[in-house]
């Protein structure tokens, strides 16, 4: 899932400072699941903005709406009836959602209220970790299901660097050394020999080095 976290409130306040009618749009997909931009966070942000304006003695009109998915134009279309009545849109979706709105409503500014961090997985209640970089050329099949691109701080393809300490990354003891994990998993799978295979220098094009990616499924398009 795309994992995001809310922006500092002051940044959002600065974005909307010139405006008095705001459409605050949540998304019921990834950002709901990672508790960054679902219906509840929309309510909280609206309330926070109200408090801010109350203290300033200013008025602000916030309409809250949470779309099923902000990255689909059909859902974004649901904003159409309200868009003329507002000065600006604040989106609590990931960057994809913000841009989908911006693409549809050209005359209304749209501001992000969250920072899209990574593609992650839930580790436990309230904890999410990065798992995928979207490199476009998945190697998980040979790295025991643990991604060296996303989970090694140096994207190393051929084993751990010399900084591993107690099985943890040199960057932080809170980060597992991806290659330690890969090695342990390969051993469990009885696939230790995989490790000795030299992995060639990566072609980064599918992951964005080749310019913004587009997928076209001709059978569907």
């Amino acid at each position: 899932m795309i994992t995001a976290e809310q922006k500092p409130i002051q940044e959002i306040i600065q974005y909307i400072a010139p405006y008095s009618k705001i459409l605050l749009v949540g998304c019921n997909e990834c950002v709901t699941v990672c508790a960054a931009g679902g219906r509840k966070e929309v309510g909280l942000l609206a309330s926070a903005l109200h408090l801010n304006h109350l203290k300033q003695g200013k008025n602000i009109d916030i309409r809250e709406i949470t779309l099923e998915r902000q990255c689909d134009p059909e859902y974004v279309e649901e904003l159409a009836p309200y868009i003329d009545g507002v000065d600006a849109v604040v989106s609590m979706a990931c960057g994809c959602g913000v841009q989908t709105i911006a693409a549809r409503f050209k005359k209304t500014p749209v501001f992000p209220a969250v920072n899209t961090r990574f593609m992650g997985a839930s580790v436990s209640q309230g904890v999410w970790s990065e798992r995928c970089k979207g490199c476009g050329d998945c190697v998980l099949g040979i790295t025991g299901g643990i991604c060296p691109v996303a989970r090694c701080s140096k994207h190393l393809f051929n084993g751990p660097c010399g900084g591993t300490s107690n099985g943890q990354c040199e960057v932080s003891p809170d980060i597992d050394c991806a290659w330690r994990l890969i090695w342990e998993r390969l051993k469990e799978l009885g696939m230790e020999s995989r490790y000795e295979e030299l992995m060639e220098a990566k072609d980064w094009r599918p992951g964005g080095a080749g310019g913004p990616g587009t997928i076209i499924r001709e059978d569907l398009a």
């Binding site: 051929n158 010399g162 107690n166």
Partner: protein
């Protein structure tokens, strides 16, 4: 001989090789490089020139290497994958070689988090193993990594680092094997304080016959003080410092600790000379370069062979 590298020649002669290192300055004064390098003159077979060591901005290793080369000494160009993508690396190698730098060391590099630009994006386009392979291909096939032909390929004697102490320990020999497979010629190891563990690793290296395929230079660092020992134990990633080392330094008065540190370094060299597969020493006297000749001499590694 694959290259004109002095280091390659010493190793080929069967003598124990000695290398040391020199960190370029955080500024533009060339004399800082030449003064440091002069301290090592005649006592080593190659001088590593570090590449933005510990992720702190310094004079580029290539430029400092050229300054050393111009002194008639033998720089070893360090290159980390953190700061350059494959294009930048290759152009740098071409440039260095054009000034006669013929020995290099391929590294991943410390993470940017440790340095003075923690906000920097680490490049890590290729890793150190892939870099070894790239340099080897440039030398032996005359091809760029992308496959195009090089007009006058660089003939680099290729080194890499190995840390016998980082975990998982069982991976450490295999990782060396990978570097050998990629084409590495010599290895400089992490500073060795836990000699037992190093010997265990070396046994693994010999068992796999890797000592026949690569020259291993054991890393030696003299301790300046017990404080430094403690700092390295606790703060430096991938470092294995047994309690005995700290105890021994604690056991002598502060003013005698540097001397004791040197003594320990010499003892280590003496012991490691006996280890099969150890073909030399890489003496890292961090900000203490002036002591390197003393260590080399005390360890019976002086004078250096003429090649």
């Amino acid at each position: 001989m694959k290259t004109d590298s002095r280091l390659e020649k010493v190793l080929a002669s069967g003598e124990l090789a000695v290398t040391s290192e020199c960190g370029p300055p955080r500024g533009c004064r060339p004399e800082k490089v030449t003064e440091k390098a002069a301290l090592l003159k005649d006592h080593v077979d190659g001088i590593n020139v570090t590449d933005n060591q510990t992720a702190m901005v310094r004079m580029s290793s290539c430029t400092a290497g050229i300054l050393i080369k111009q002194m008639g000494l033998d720089p070893i160009l360090q290159m980390v994958s953190r700061d350059r993508n494959r294009l930048a690396m290759q152009s740098e190698i071409l440039g260095a070689y054009s000034f006669g730098i013929n020995t290099m060391l391929c590294l991943s590099g410390d993470h940017a988090k440790f340095g003075d630009h923690p906000m920097a994006q680490g490049v890590f386009d290729i890793d150190s193993v892939q870099m070894i392979k790239m340099v080897q291909q440039m030398r032996d096939k005359g091809l760029f990594q992308g496959g195009a032909k090089i007009d006058g390929p660089p003939k680099m004697f290729i080194g890499a680092a190995a840390n016998p102490f980082a975990d998982p320990f069982e991976l450490r020999v295999m990782r060396l094997a990978k570097k050998v497979k990629a084409g590495v010629d010599f290895i400089q190891t992490q500073c060795i304080f836990n000699l037992d563990k190093f010997e265990e690793w070396m046994k693994g290296v010999v068992d796999r016959g890797l000592d026949e395929q690569v020259h291993i230079l054991a890393g030696i660092t003299p301790m300046k003080s017990v404080g430094m020992a403690r700092y390295m134990k606790n703060k430096v990633p991938g470092m294995d410092i047994p309690d005995d080392v700290i105890k021994r330094l604690e056991g002598v008065p502060k003013e005698q600790q540097p001397e004791e540190g040197i003594k320990m370094a010499v003892e280590a060299i003496e012991r490691l000379k006996q280890v099969k597969g150890v073909h030399g020493f890489h003496i890292m006297a961090i900000e203490w370069e002036e002591k390197v000749p003393q260590i080399v001499e005390k360890a019976g590694l002086y004078p250096r062979p003429k090649v």
